[in-house]
């Protein structure tokens, strides 16, 4: 027999479990204009000035922690750069191959198209990175002309897409969020597929045939299909391409062109509104 206090604790536990599941179910089923989604947008709006202020104060101390986290990356990047230097020196002696590769890249990568749109500069004031989401908060919102589904990029490549907007802030879903998806093209081979985020971070390029000659180091850009993102924005480079006998397509891992942890300012394209979001089918935002 449980003591009475234990019974009371269990009753409260059960009630709160039921309440939590009720909130979860209601949020899952209601539309984006629903009460709970509106409450989340309101919270983001209220928190954004605080996040902006803290971001300004804390940025000098942040560098120390970035150094700790990236020191392992620095060593491996150093080894990688030494190898790349040796490889580049070898390629320089083969002039014709470099010329052909240059001509093919110029034809496919239309950089002027990338900067043909109006943009807004926004500051990153918050980050939400868990196993299940990879988002940043920017300091521009509906009052500045920001709308949902607007593409976001930096000079190094694609950042993501606006998914929630409040009056003074907006939530940007990063390209390595596991619910994101972008139509993409391999520059060197011309093949088209879909880049999707993976749980825990990283990118994968799907729907590339097993016979594809894609190799590590090939560049992946947005293809512009579906009109979600302009064509020609760098998404990243192929890190690994291998065949799995149990899968229909090649398994391709992409190294993103941007480091999402280092984003400070971003560009939001404001005059390109896609008709529909290019997200994975059946997933809520």
């Amino acid at each position: 027999m449980y003591p009475q206090k234990s019974y009371q604790d269990l009753i409260v536990l059960v009630l709160l479990v039921i309440l939590s599941i009720g909130i979860f179910t209601f949020h899952f089923r209601e539309g984006e204009s629903g009460l709970l989604h509106g409450l989340q947008r309101f919270t983001m709006n209220v928190m954004s000035p605080l996040q902006t202020g803290i971001s300004v104060v804390i940025s000098p101390f942040e560098n120390l922690f970035r150094f700790i986290g990236e020191s392992k990356d620095f060593r491996s990047e150093n080894r990688k750069l030494k190898k790349e230097l040796a490889e580049t020196q070898r390629q320089l002696t083969t002039f014709k191959d470099i010329e052909k590769e240059n001509a093919r890249l110029r034809k496919l990568v239309s950089l002027e198209e990338k900067i043909a749109f109006n943009t807004l500069v926004a500051r990153v004031i918050g980050r939400q990175t868990t196993e299940w989401q990879s988002n940043i908060v920017i300091d521009m919102g509906s009052a500045d002309g920001i709308k949902k589904h607007m593409p976001v990029l930096v000079s190094e490549g694609l950042v993501g897409q606006v998914v929630e907007v409040s009056r003074g802030a907006a939530l940007v879903q990063l390209i390595d969020d596991e619910k994101s998806g972008e139509a993409a093209q391999i520059v060197e081979t011309g093949e088209e597929g879909v880049v999707q985020g993976q749980e825990g971070g990283g990118l994968r390029l799907n729907f590339i045939a097993k016979s594809s000659p894609v190799k590590a180091g090939d560049s992946v850009i947005t293809s512009g299909i579906a009109g979600v993102f302009p064509r020609g924005i760098l998404i990243g480079k192929v890190k690994e391409a291998k065949d799995d006998p149990y899968l229909m397509y090649k398994t391709i891992v992409i190294e993103p062109g941007i480091n999402t942890d280092l984003l400070e300012e971003v560009l939001v394209i404001t005059d390109m509104e896609p008709p529909a979001p290019f997200l994975r089918e059946g997933k809520n935002q």
Binding site: V17, H27, M47, Q128, T129, N135
Partner: protein, 167 residues
């Protein structure tokens, strides 16, 4: 009676605000501590299962107010961890430095695994649990465990009755 309640609520709100404003700036790789969970578990060890359940629900719900899918799931995972932590009220050595470290390691792993398992089992989301476990869940749990004494001991000293028996 009422004043300690508001002080404890204040700790929870402070942890929530720090979690969303400060913590993202101090990630180490993919790892970040869960300050809200640290406060929930501390209150559970101090005041028992009921306190753990209610503070877990409150802290988790605050985190769920941020724009993200699965609203309510953080409240659910934290209230369960808070309840289970509260079952150990007054039964373990609470003043040992290793206690909060070990407790938060287990609590953080449990919280994240519960969250991930719920998504996988009940929502049918495709999950690469192995890679998430080693790349994010374990490093974040270790980070939470390392930070735990900085939060646990001040709260413990403030609210623990004198002469509290040790096992």
């Amino acid at each position: 009676m009422i004043r300690p309640f508001f002080i404890k609520l204040g700790f929870l709100l402070t942890a929530f605000l720090a979690q969303i404003t400060l913590v993202p700036h101090f990630k180490i790789g993919q790892a970040q501590p869960d300050l809200v969970l640290i406060v929930v578990v501390t209150l559970a060890f101090l005041d028992g299962a009921l306190a753990g359940t209610i503070s877990g629900f409150t802290g988790g719900l605050l985190l769920d107010l941020l724009p993200k899918p699965y609203m309510g799931l953080s409240a659910l995972s934290k209230l369960v961890v808070g309840y289970l932590s509260g079952l150990f009220e007054r039964t373990v050595v609470m003043e040992n430095i290793f206690f909060p470290v070990l407790a938060l390691l287990i609590a953080s792993l449990s919280d994240r695994l519960f969250y991930s398992a719920f998504i996988f089992l009940f929502l049918g989301e495709k999950v690469h649990l192995f890679s998430i476990f080693w790349q994010m869940i374990v490093p974040s749990a270790l980070y939470s465990a390392a930070v735990a004494p900085l939060i646990y001991f001040p709260i413990f000293r403030l609210f623990s009755p004198k002469g509290k028996p040790l096992v």
